[in-house]
C-alpha cells in the first residue's frame, strides 16, 4: 500500500467511521463497545482491499459488511434474550414515563433485526428503496413491505400505549 493509499484510508476513516458505528448500534442494538468491534472488523476488510476499492465506492462496501454483520449479531442477541427471558415479543409495552421518542426507539428495538435494518437505512440514513435493497441483498419490493410493516407495527403499538395512558 502506498503512502497515498494510507492517507486516503485515513481520510475515509475520518469521514465515515462515526456514521458506520452509529448504524451498527441502531441495527443491532449493541453497546458502543460491541459496535466498535463490529466496525473494526468491517474496516479491516476494507483496508485489506483498499488499493483496489478506494476509487469504487468503498463506503457502500463497508456499510454492507457492517449492516449484515449487525443483523447477524442482533439475531444472536435476540435468540439469547428469548432463551434467557422466555418473554413473548408482543408483551411488555414501553414505560409511560419515557417520552415519545424514547418509546419509539424502544419499539424499534423490538422489531425483527432485518425489519429494523430497513427502517434504519430508510429513515435514519435516508437511503432510497433501491439502495437499501442493494445493501441488504433483497428486492425493493421486500424493502417496501418491510418498511410499511415496521412503521405500522410501531404506530399500532404507540397508539395502544397512548390509549392506555391516563
Amino acid at each position: 500500500m502506498t503512502d497515498e493509499d494510507e492517507a486516503a484510508f485515513d481520510e475515509f476513516l475520518a469521514a465515515r467511521s462515526t456514521s458506520l458505528m452509529r448504524t451498527a448500534i441502531l441495527v443491532c442494538g449493541a453497546t458502543s463497545h460491541d459496535a466498535e468491534d463490529l466496525v473494526q472488523h468491517a474496516l479491516e476488510k476494507v483496508y485489506r482491499h483498499w488499493p483496489r476499492i478506494r476509487s469504487d465506492n468503498p463506503e457502500a462496501y463497508a456499510r454492507r459488511i457492517v449492516v449484515n454483520a449487525a443483523i447477524s449479531k442482533a439475531r444472536r442477541r435476540r435468540l439469547i434474550q428469548e432463551i434467557t427471558f422466555a418473554r413473548p415479543p408482543e408483551t411488555a409495552a414501553p414505560s409511560p414515563d419515557l417520552d415519545l421518542r424514547d418509546a419509539l426507539f424502544e419499539e424499534l428495538r423490538r422489531l425483527p433485526p432485518r425489519m429494523r435494518a430497513v427502517l434504519v437505512l430508510r429513515y435514519w440514513e435516508d437511503q432510497s428503496e433501491a439502495a437499501t435493497a442493494a445493501l441488504l441483498g433483497c428486492s425493493p419490493g421486500t424493502v417496501k413491505s418491510q418498511a410499511a410493516r415496521g412503521l405500522a407495527r410501531i404506530r399500532e403499538r404507540m397508539n395502544v400505549t397512548e390509549g392506555a395512558m391516563p
Binding site: L13, E44, Y47, R52, L108, A130, S145
Partner: protein, 298 residues
C-alpha cells in the same frame, strides 16, 4: 411531524453522542497485521505438512525424487514466456462459485470481492468468457440478489393473476419480475411486482398488493385521508404516500404513487408506482388505467 421523522429523530438522539475513537485507524491496521500473520502461519503450517508427507513417500519408494525441470528455456534464444489462461463463463453462477471458478482459472478479482450472500448471482463479468489473459490478471464480477424461485406465491406465470385478482392492464414494457410476498403488508396480504423487461434488480416499476379479510381495513382507513378518485364505477384514493401513509402533494424520493380501492367488502387492492418509475410515466393516469383493469379472478 410524521412517524418516519419522529423515528429518525429518536434514532438520532440515541446515537448522536457516539463518535468513532481516534485510535480506530491504528486498531484496524493492527488487526490487519494480525490477520496477515495468521495467514502466513497457516501457510507455513501447510508447507510443513506437505513436506512431512512428501519426505516419507520419497524415502519409502526407495527412489529419488525427480530432478526439477529446467528453470529456463534451453533454446538459447531470448523468448518472452507468457503464461496465458482463459476467462471462464461465470455469469448466472452463485457468487461464491463464480469467485472460486475465477481463482481456479488462475485469475484474480478487481475491486471488492462480492460479499456473496447465498442468494446472489453474478450478472456481468469483464472480460467476456473465452478471453485469453495473462495469468493473475484481474477481472471484474458484478453480482445481484437473485429472485428466489419459487417465491412466496410460487410461479405466477405472467404474474397478472394472484391473490384472487386479475390485472388486465400494465404499462408497456413491464413484465413480471418473479418477486412475490405473502403477508408482508398485514395478514392476509399478497404482493407482486412488475419491472421494465422483467428485471427487478434495478427496482420495481409497479407493485400490486391484495388485501383480504381483516387486512382490508388497511385500505378502508385510507379512504377518508387520501384524496379520492373515481375508478370506473368504483371509488378509491390516489396520492403520493410515504411508507407511513402520509400524503404528499408532489412525488418525492421517499414517496410512492399509490391508488387503492375495494373490489369487494373482503377484498381490496393497492397499486404502487416506484419513485424510480414515476419519473418515466404519467403516474396518476397509469395508476387509474391499471386499477380500472383489475377485477376479481374467476
Amino acid at each position: 411531524m410524521n412517524v418516519e421523522d419522529l423515528l429518525a429523530e429518536a434514532m438520532e438522539r440515541q446515537v448522536s453522542h457516539v463518535q468513532a475513537p481516534p485510535t480506530l485507524g491504528r486498531t484496524v491496521r493492527s488487526r490487519h497485521r494480525a490477520h496477515v500473520i495468521r495467514f502466513r502461519v497457516a501457510g507455513a503450517a501447510l508447507v510443513t505438512a506437505a513436506v512431512a508427507v512428501a519426505v516419507p513417500v520419497a524415502l519409502g519408494t526407495g527412489r529419488t525424487a525427480p530432478a526439477p525441470a529446467a528453470s529456463s528455456p534451453t533454446s538459447g534464444q531470448d523468448t518472452a514466456v507468457v503464461d496465458s489462461v482463459t476467462m471462464p463463463d461465470v455469469t448466472g453462477m452463485k457468487t461464491a462459485d463464480a469467485v472460486a471458478a475465477v481463482r481456479a482459472a488462475g485469475l484474480g478479482l478487481e475491486g471488492p470481492e462480492p460479499s456473496g450472500t447465498a442468494d446472489e448471482i453474478v450478472v456481468t463479468q469483464k472480460p467476456a468468457a473465452g478471453t485469453e489473459l495473462a495469468r493473475n490478471s484481474l477481472v471484474v464480477l458484478r453480482s445481484m440478489p437473485r429472485a428466489k424461485d419459487p417465491q412466496d406465491l410460487g410461479d405466477l406465470g405472467d404474474g397478472r393473476t394472484f391473490g384472487g385478482i386479475h390485472i388486465g392492464y400494465l404499462p408497456e414494457g413491464l413484465a413480471w419480475d418473479r418477486w412475490s410476498g405473502k403477508n408482508g403488508f398485514g395478514r392476509k396480504s399478497y404482493a407482486t411486482s412488475f419491472s421494465p423487461g422483467g428485471d427487478g434488480t434495478k427496482g420495481y416499476g409497479v407493485e400490486v398488493v391484495v388485501y383480504e379479510g381483516e387486512a382490508v381495513r388497511h385500505v378502508r382507513s385510507r379512504m377518508g385521508t387520501v384524496p379520492s378518485v373515481e375508478i370506473g364505477e368504483r371509488r378509491g384514493y390516489l396520492g403520493n404516500l410515504t411508507d407511513g401513509g402520509e400524503v404528499i402533494e408532489e412525488p418525492r424520493e421517499d414517496t410512492t404513487a399509490t391508488i387503492g380501492f375495494l373490489l369487494r367488502d373482503d377484498l381490496a387492492v393497492e397499486v404502487y408506482i416506484s419513485p424510480m418509475y414515476v419519473k418515466k410515466v404519467d403516474a396518476p393516469a397509469e395508476l387509474k388505467k391499471i386499477a380500472e383493469g383489475i377485477e376479481a379472478a374467476e
